[in-house]
Symmetry: C5
Subunit: 359 residues, 5 copies
Amino acid sequence: MNRHDEQAAGRGRAMGKQDNDLESLIYTDNAPEGSVSITTISYDGSRIDEQTQVLPESLPDLTLRPAVTWIDVDGVHDSDLLRMIGDALGIHPLTLEDIENTRQRPKIEDHGDYLYVAIRMFFPGSDGRFRSEQVSLVLGSRYVITFQERPGDLFDRIREHLRAGTGRFRIAGEDYLFYALLDTIIDGYFTVIEVFWERIEGIEEEVIAEPDQETLQAIYALKRSLISFRRVVWPLRDVVVELERGESSLIGDATLVYFRDAYDHTIEVVEAVETYREMVSGTLDIYLSSQSSHMNEIMKVLTVIATIFIPITFIAEIYSMVFAYMPGVAHPWGYPAALTSMVAVAVVMLIYFRKKGWI
Amino acid sequence: MNRHDEQAAGRGRAMGKQDNDLESLIYTDNAPEGSVSITTISYDGSRIDEQTQVLPESLPDLTLRPAVTWIDVDGVHDSDLLRMIGDALGIHPLTLEDIENTRQRPKIEDHGDYLYVAIRMFFPGSDGRFRSEQVSLVLGSRYVITFQERPGDLFDRIREHLRAGTGRFRIAGEDYLFYALLDTIIDGYFTVIEVFWERIEGIEEEVIAEPDQETLQAIYALKRSLISFRRVVWPLRDVVVELERGESSLIGDATLVYFRDAYDHTIEVVEAVETYREMVSGTLDIYLSSQSSHMNEIMKVLTVIATIFIPITFIAEIYSMVFAYMPGVAHPWGYPAALTSMVAVAVVMLIYFRKKGWI
Amino acid sequence: MNRHDEQAAGRGRAMGKQDNDLESLIYTDNAPEGSVSITTISYDGSRIDEQTQVLPESLPDLTLRPAVTWIDVDGVHDSDLLRMIGDALGIHPLTLEDIENTRQRPKIEDHGDYLYVAIRMFFPGSDGRFRSEQVSLVLGSRYVITFQERPGDLFDRIREHLRAGTGRFRIAGEDYLFYALLDTIIDGYFTVIEVFWERIEGIEEEVIAEPDQETLQAIYALKRSLISFRRVVWPLRDVVVELERGESSLIGDATLVYFRDAYDHTIEVVEAVETYREMVSGTLDIYLSSQSSHMNEIMKVLTVIATIFIPITFIAEIYSMVFAYMPGVAHPWGYPAALTSMVAVAVVMLIYFRKKGWI
Amino acid sequence: MNRHDEQAAGRGRAMGKQDNDLESLIYTDNAPEGSVSITTISYDGSRIDEQTQVLPESLPDLTLRPAVTWIDVDGVHDSDLLRMIGDALGIHPLTLEDIENTRQRPKIEDHGDYLYVAIRMFFPGSDGRFRSEQVSLVLGSRYVITFQERPGDLFDRIREHLRAGTGRFRIAGEDYLFYALLDTIIDGYFTVIEVFWERIEGIEEEVIAEPDQETLQAIYALKRSLISFRRVVWPLRDVVVELERGESSLIGDATLVYFRDAYDHTIEVVEAVETYREMVSGTLDIYLSSQSSHMNEIMKVLTVIATIFIPITFIAEIYSMVFAYMPGVAHPWGYPAALTSMVAVAVVMLIYFRKKGWI
Amino acid sequence: MNRHDEQAAGRGRAMGKQDNDLESLIYTDNAPEGSVSITTISYDGSRIDEQTQVLPESLPDLTLRPAVTWIDVDGVHDSDLLRMIGDALGIHPLTLEDIENTRQRPKIEDHGDYLYVAIRMFFPGSDGRFRSEQVSLVLGSRYVITFQERPGDLFDRIREHLRAGTGRFRIAGEDYLFYALLDTIIDGYFTVIEVFWERIEGIEEEVIAEPDQETLQAIYALKRSLISFRRVVWPLRDVVVELERGESSLIGDATLVYFRDAYDHTIEVVEAVETYREMVSGTLDIYLSSQSSHMNEIMKVLTVIATIFIPITFIAEIYSMVFAYMPGVAHPWGYPAALTSMVAVAVVMLIYFRKKGWI
């Protein structure tokens, strides 16, 4: 085990750094918070029983009771607690390592008597950005366990439904609860998608109105955020496909149709990300072209001013020469004639530029 | 159900915004219109019976009668009505949700006793743009139901054929009606394709004749419209492939060959979209290159003017100096000689530029 | 049927416009020509019988005779005639529609008792461009029918072989005739490929020698022609693959090996098109870079001239000032000294530019 | 055999050159070091026996003893020794050639009674770069052989575990040892990934702060390193997939789950490389755009200075003319009036540029 | 046959032109050389018999003798000879056509009693370029035939091994000879790869040191050579994969493992080509960026010179005016004061540019 721990730590470091690139829109708070707490909700059609333990010493025996039990663990940095839960429920040590290592790519593992799913949950933070954390879901016979990195999640509505006894929850089994948790997290992606969309619209306006070097950096940051977000979403497709196929006996046929629904949502998110990536590339094209356009405009101004004044300055220069014999210099009409010729040259130039469409 | 409704709403919002990008060519009118109406057409080889109900309370019993019944529902925002229809015909609640959520990507679901297809219909609006709405088709035993977002569709010709008893409709079953409805919608895509084509041709001409920043924005808008249109067309392929495979017992072998035809049309649309995307990229290349070309032209004018006048101005400047002893200044031929040398320099320069091909 | 006719017409219009983009190299003459004619060639090992009918009223009975019959129909716009042929030979109405609609993408349909193949034939026109038309081939038991849009084709050599009794034709069956017709059309593609190649070579030379805006348009036109040509060639691969697989009982094992040969040719054409597309992209890169290079050259000339003359003009300007006390102005060596300093500055500048490699 | 040797040498030369492109981040030391040494570790649950031989003459008989034996060979350039090992263990001559040729792409070969895996190991050198060498692993019944190019590897931790009897090693079989060696090498890739990440971050900062031609070369070097690294990582996926499938009887079911873990790590590395490639492309875009931006800035300065001074210089030039009759020249207010008009023109220009946003 | 001959000729012409693009690195000598010669080597474990015939009239009977026979034909333009060989060994006419048409893409055909492989052989010419010719290999029972376009090949080493009785040749069957010939040709590709590598390195140096328009053309030529080379290598993969699969009874299991080796080499070549293509694209990016960089440098020089001298020339111009009353003109310190102000302006400008980092 030790060897694995060490390796996982090394990997965690490598991956942890990589998350900086989500900084612009999504961030991951790496520091584990103090104490670990476990909330257990047991329910069946008629009763519901909810209790919260901080730093629990033992786990209630789950296998005997007829009710469905949802164990929600906040904090996964306590290896001893994880091992205790694993021993109680027969979870493989490698799965426990995956739960502890919060840098997994989304994946599903069917261990026969339980299903393990690692998924990333996004929820809006106070500053308009998104906090990301890994949620590990374990679906076993009559129980669902969720492991979160820290308190706070998207599951409040499910809790309310459970307490109020509304929806299908109380009559359906643990597979429906498992589905509902997963689908809630996937639905949370649409909020991220919506913010991406707003950013792209903002950049589109900016890139057309007044693009500068910062616009470019914003485009690049958005592109990076999309790349990172895609890395989370892309493998999720395989996870949901495997669930939808219904090969696990833990998921009943009645619930299977809901996973097909979840699959549709996942595909929608994936396609939105791909579309956005194309759009961001498009804004980059506009940016580059607008720079080129801007340069053209500058060049036009310079060229118009220079090519009007250079010839007429030359005329003036001619009559600045100090030759003793210069025809017309002594003539009273010499000066007006020179000025007139300058005006004429300037007018010809202006007409030429007007014809070119430069002014 | 409640949980699903809330989620769907959230998703609808996110996706609703996304449709702005179709603004240039295709738009979606999101506001649901007032009342819901149902038109029922029952027919067999000898008789046809048509009736329209606004805000119906109940549905005629379909399963008993031998005739084929087409129920056309305008408006899907009335959940109660949908539930009533669903209960009468045994449609799964998730399918009803899909019908109500008008932001589905095209999909097909085979529920054994009925087939559900979601597809997007485009029809030309008054301003040369296209209105888009989701059409849900349900094919069951002896009936077809179509759910549209609002009144107005492409199906008038089918109605006329039914009433007149022309075509295969009256002798064929409900699967042929189902095919005809689907194929009519797919054929409607060719109208969109045609308008795309006109736009591309317009942009091609513009980009060669007189490209400006607006041309670029038009290219970008077209690119975005194509991306959005592709998102609708691409998954349609999978829908029609599944229908063509003939795995559902609801579609008879005689009708299957028509779906192969519909598949060909779908592929044609998909390929046209891909081709157009390549062409739009091509116009962007031309635009960027023409900007660069334009800059070259400006630079040439500036360079020719500047390099002709700078040396001869220098000559004039020489003789503007106020040195007491300057040879030739006092000579009567000094002035003409200076002028001649200037002309000579200018002519040499002009010959040089002519040789370079700049003038 | 009517409904289909109308739709096909609408589609024809949309697709017809699209063919403009082949204008540069390939064109399609849309107007159907006057009357339809049918040429029937019946042959076996010992006899050959050939007859041509204009506007035929009836078709000879094909199924009874032991000989192989090739029916070549010029003109597909006469629906009644098509229907008459279809009725005589048991061809499905949808196939007849496909034959009449001359905008099909290449496809194959196995109807059990006959094989239908739609393919596009190119043959050189009088102006170095290629005329394109759709050829529909129907292979049935003891007969092959070819439907062409208008008179004139690539099949003269096959006719000669048939009449002279050379080659395998007279001893082989109708499947070998079918193969020979198909392979002749595919071989015709190599002529198009050859012309593409000449165009690319021409553009390559032009882009290196003296590229201008027209070169760019030629590149773009070539790119579009390649895109269009690829749309015709790409699906052909699937057609020939299906023939080569030998799933139809209409094609004997002895002939199958020839279709493998035809497949190789198709792949060669497809790969040539892909290679050419890459090459055309390459020429675009050269074009853009040569524009940039040209700009550099212009800038160099301007910079050299300006930076040489601006400083020495400044020196002249100094001594044009009218200050009462300017040292050296009254000195006899003042003027030569000023000129010398100007020459010195110019020489220093020239050396600098020479070192930079600009002149 | 001789023919193969010669060919392999030729290939080695070709491939050896290719490794120069890893120079910036990763290098391969081609010169084989002096003598070959073999370290043999035999262990079971209770005992461990370790011995090192330099230039061994014979190999201990492995097949008889019940313990697991790990033979670690440093140096693969001694063909005789390889042949001796091969003969003792029944390894195919082609496998021996693969071991000797240190330019293999990662691959797996299942020879029935042994599994051969070629993989590339990276470990940090003294100068912040990575040394790369090929490791060949052979898994047979009760033994694992590792062939390394030279002394020094990443396996010290495994040796410590073996000696201390910690971890699963002593109780698990030779398949677990095989897994642990492979996984250690794959984990070593994360260190390379981490350094790539640091380089990308460095380049991102540089490209935004002060990009120059060297930045571009650094981007290109990084791109090349990524291409080379990908060539090593990409085929590894297939290797691990085949191991994970569990088709070889040499790998027990208990160990199979660990290979699934190794597969996840491999995918992570592959995805990181792809992501980095996209990021490096992004920095190139920024670099090019920043060059263009820089040019814009230069042009603005030139244009502002030139267009302000050219007109007012012209005014001064007017009054430098030497006409006898110039109104205002003799007037006491002429000079201040001329100066004022110059200031006015300059101010108008400045206001214009301010409005344009250029200053 | 005639028809095929004519078509093949037409195709040959089209493809022949295409080979010009290999001109820079690889060329194909199209003119067939004079007479055809056949070298026959028969061998078994104990004896070897070698004889060469020019323009042979008949072929020794191969099927009866127990020895392995290798027939090496130089020259494939003699149709009669090919037909004679084909008749003697039962080779299908289509295969003979493929042998004669030297523009085949690499392919394999399993005719049951013989295997046909077409492959392109490259060997170094006298001028550092590579001569390319098509080699057709036919593997039958107890014989291998190789058809080459003209004398000279890479097989000398195999001949030496056969004569000397070294290697596996004399003890192995004809399948091993077939493998050895194929592998020798594939190994020849590594020499081409090596030269590609040298060219890329040369271009990389050039593009960083002193890129000009010729560098661009060299990049483009290299790109084209790679595209052409890839067209030869890419389909080879499928050829070797089919051989490796071992579906033909002509290849024994003992030899199969060698084809796996050949497959590895093919993949290596394919990947090298792909990598090189990416690198060449990278050099193009550097080239374009270096052009842009160069332009920036030119602009900087112009801007620095112009913006320093334009203002101070203006000052000089001020005092060149001929107003009667100009303060300071008559003052002895006027001239030094004017010069000082000019120096001051120039110094301020220089400091500004230094701060900008332009000088």
